[in-house]
């Protein structure tokens, strides 16, 4: 596995701990090797030392075993180089041959782009020019989001990647899809008989997808200023989650069969006309606040952010899916920074009973909800009404909970463990395909173009609040309210 950007945060925090854990579980071949590449000059041993410290620091829910590390570290190598330098890639080819000879990797290479997005194209061009994308074994490339910053740039990136790799060899990683609960959506829907009959416009009133972060941009102001919540979260993670929730059943659980259904769903999302955008979307930006005794700056006061930045740190969108299953059912999707708590979940609200025969107040008319919690406590809850013990027919909402952490007595693999192993064994089910990327960009571009031409009155929500009031109004127009997760 060749990691471009081996000295970066992602490698330290996620990739190496995940690879170590796979080695610990004996999921990796004995000859597995990691070749890290970045600009910083380092020897193999120095890189190993650095990765050892990272693994010890960022390994989650797992013991560290020195013997496993010693064996694993023998396969860790490093080379310094500039990704714009054409000479890097023939040198890389030579180094790969050396490693192959020493460790018998069979010529199989997984390239992992953990570099700055602006370097994706030079890396792809370098690989193509040196013909490193082809070899005696399989060659695959994993790239991290963002897959472009709009539809046109996504298509350009794809074309460059395709100069060195077939589309089937390109693995666009979306770590949300590697989370157990997101995978469990498929198990819940298609492994059980009771949910799928209800999973349509006849029974589902609306769907809410929330990805909230309690922190601000945390020093990433300069990057985030150019991205925003719509592009950073909704275009990729949340549209993939929505596709998983709403897609049609796949005939088989083969990678392209599942991805075809996801892709079909993404292409069914209605692309808004310019005059529909401001009615069905809300852009927000957090302002300063005092929470729990601590002062938090507004987005415009964050380091590296322009004082008049129009960046959306909060985005809420009402999507409609134009197909027979979902016609007319709103999918409310929101994501934001500095919201009250860190939580990602999907709430499917079912229609109320057609006739209210009990004395009703706000508690006895509470809707049936199916909540799929993606983080922090992965699990599923079904909320329904029950009679309160005692005389009279008083109803109270109750819930049945399934919690991943306590229901299975075993550790859940991290999203990166799942996804890296899938890429190594060539299972692309949980990876995003180019047609899916383009479909979600088509939806998001239509919104972003209108937002780019609109001057918003920012900030419009205080850090620590559940977003701007306009987001509440957007739902209220259809008689709905946001859940407070």
């Amino acid at each position: 596995m060749v990691i471009f950007g081996a000295n970066g945060d992602l490698t330290k925090r996620k990739l190496l701990p995940a690879l170590y854990r796979l080695a610990y579980e004996r999921r990796l071949d004995a000859g597995f090797a990691v070749l890290g590449i970045s600009r910083t000059p380092m020897t193999d041993d120095q890189f190993r030392e650095k990765m050892l410290a990272s693994v010890k620091e960022f390994l989650e829910d797992s013991p560290f075993d020195a013997d496993v590390w010693t064996a694993f570290a023998q396969g860790i190598f490093y080379m310094a180089g500039n990704f714009d330098d054409a000479a890097l890639f023939p040198a890389l080819d030579a180094r790969l041959k050396e490693i192959d000879a020493a460790r018998h990797t069979g010529g199989n290479v997984l390239f992992y782009l953990s570099a700055q997005p602006s370097q994706y194209i030079p890396i792809a061009q370098g690989i193509a020019a040196a013909n490193v994308g082809k070899g005696s074994g399989w060659r695959r490339i994993v790239i991290e989001k963002p897959f472009g910053h709009d539809l046109a740039s996504a298509q350009k990136l794809s074309a460059e990647l395709h100069s060195a790799f077939e589309e089937a060899e390109v693995y666009r990683i979306d770590h949300y899809l590697g989370k157990e609960t997101v995978q469990n959506i498929l198990a819940l829907r298609f492994g059980n008989g009771i949910f799928e009959p209800l999973w349509n416009r006849r029974y589902v009133n609306h769907v809410q997808i929330t990805a909230a972060e309690s922190i601000g941009v945390e020093g990433r102001g300069a990057y985030y200023q150019e991205a925003g919540a719509l592009r950073d979260m909704i275009q990729n993670h949340l549209s993939q989650v929505m596709a998983t929730i709403a897609m049609e059943p796949s005939a088989t659980f083969r990678p392209d069969s599942v991805r075809d259904e996801r892709s079909k769903l993404l292409r069914s999302i209605r692309v808004m006309k310019p005059d529909e955008v401001l009615r069905n979307t809300v852009s927000g930006q957090y302002g300063p606040a005092h929470i729990g005794g601590e002062d938090f700056p507004g987005f415009r006061e964050e380091p590296g952010v322009k004082p008049d930045a129009q960046t959306d740190t909060y985005a809420a969108v009402t999507f409609f899916v134009d197909n027979w299953r979902w016609a007319g059912v709103p999918f409310y999707v929101r994501s934001g920074k500095h919201l009250p708590k860190r939580v990602t979940e999907i709430a499917i609200q079912f229609n109320a009973a057609p006739l209210a025969i009990f004395n009703s107040d706000e508690t006895t008319t509470a809707p049936n909800l199916l909540i799929l919690r993606i983080q922090p406590e992965e699990g599923i809850s079904l909320k329904f009404l029950s009679k309160r013990p005692g005389s009279g027919m008083t109803l109270r909402p109750v819930s049945m909970d399934f919690n991943y952490g306590s229901s299975f007595g075993e550790r859940s693999p991290s999203a990166y463990e799942t996804l890296l192993l899938d890429a190594i064994i060539g299972d692309a089910t949980l990876y995003t395909r180019q047609d899916m990327v383009e479909a979600s960009w088509a939806v998001v571009d239509a919104i972003q173009h209108v937002w780019d031409e609109t001057k918003f009155e920012f900030p419009n929500y205080a850090a620590g609040a559940w977003g701007p009031k306009a987001a509440d109004d957007m739902l209220a127009r259809r008689g709905h309210v946001w859940r407070q997760p």
């Binding site: 929470i291 005794g293 508690t363 109270r396 952490g405 306590s406 407070q484």
Partner: protein, 337 residues
Amino acid sequence: MGAAGGTIAPDRILHDMADLWVSLGKQGEGDAGVLRACSMTLVVAAEESDDAQAIGETLAALMPEHPSRAIVIRFRAADQRSLAARVFAQCWMPFGHRQQICCEQIEIAASDASLPDLAAVVLPLTVPDLPVILWCRSPRLFHLPAFSQLAAIAQKVVLDSAVFGDAAAALAEISGAAGAGHLLADLSWTRLTRWRELVAQIFENRAQLANLPLVTDILVSHRAAATPTTAYYLAAWLTEGLAKVGDHPRVRFHSDGGEPAWRLSLVELRAQGSADAIASIALAEGHAAEVRVGGLVNKALLPALTDYALMREELAIPGRDPVFERALAAAAKLALS
């Protein structure tokens, strides 16, 4: 768990709670484990001087019937902003069972000056999709301007007008807040449940029911020198009920003196010109009431009501209580007339 400088991060508290459940799960004997129970978020706002042990005992007693995530906020009057928090679990083993049931409790110590920060801390700590009930044990806190932000998180705010001082002002204030759309409960009203049951039982008898339209005078006697809110509530409830049969009796209040101030000593319904009351209920020795109807005298239990008993009853009504709302509006009018 309060961070240095007196700050608290809700995420940290939630993380600590998750760790707490993991450690409780590991402590569980054999395969029984622990059962996490929660039917609401109960926020308790109390003064620092309030009896912490008594609050803890009340919450522990409430949990088996109303398992809640309890957030106890203890305020001290200070100008400097300061906050600290800790989490722990309340557990019990139901009789005959092998599995412990546990509820989580968060304790927050706050200064008055940090009240404006608290809503942003409490909001993420509430349990999704379940009612949030705020029990405000101090009138001083209720009157702090920033208290409304905390109250806005709750579906229902439980107060006790008995500790508000001036009954008429308290009823006007509570009635005004209810009129503005807030869902409120008053433990002074909850204290009347047994009195109201006794009155209702009298008129379940058809012969007595026929006497209802004859009632021209209502007398409510109480211990306090000034008429307490409980007396106004009972009179208001009676007049509201009698108005339904076209009866509009006069209401008199009388002070017997004594303690506790909110306690009622007598309610009497009379017909004009009659020597005997149609019905009366008088406080008797011990936890009893003497119920007189015509020539008949009965004794009925009138148990002393603890905070636990009052809250147990209030938490059973997370939504609107239209009877209370009508009585509150009528009591406020009565107190001001």
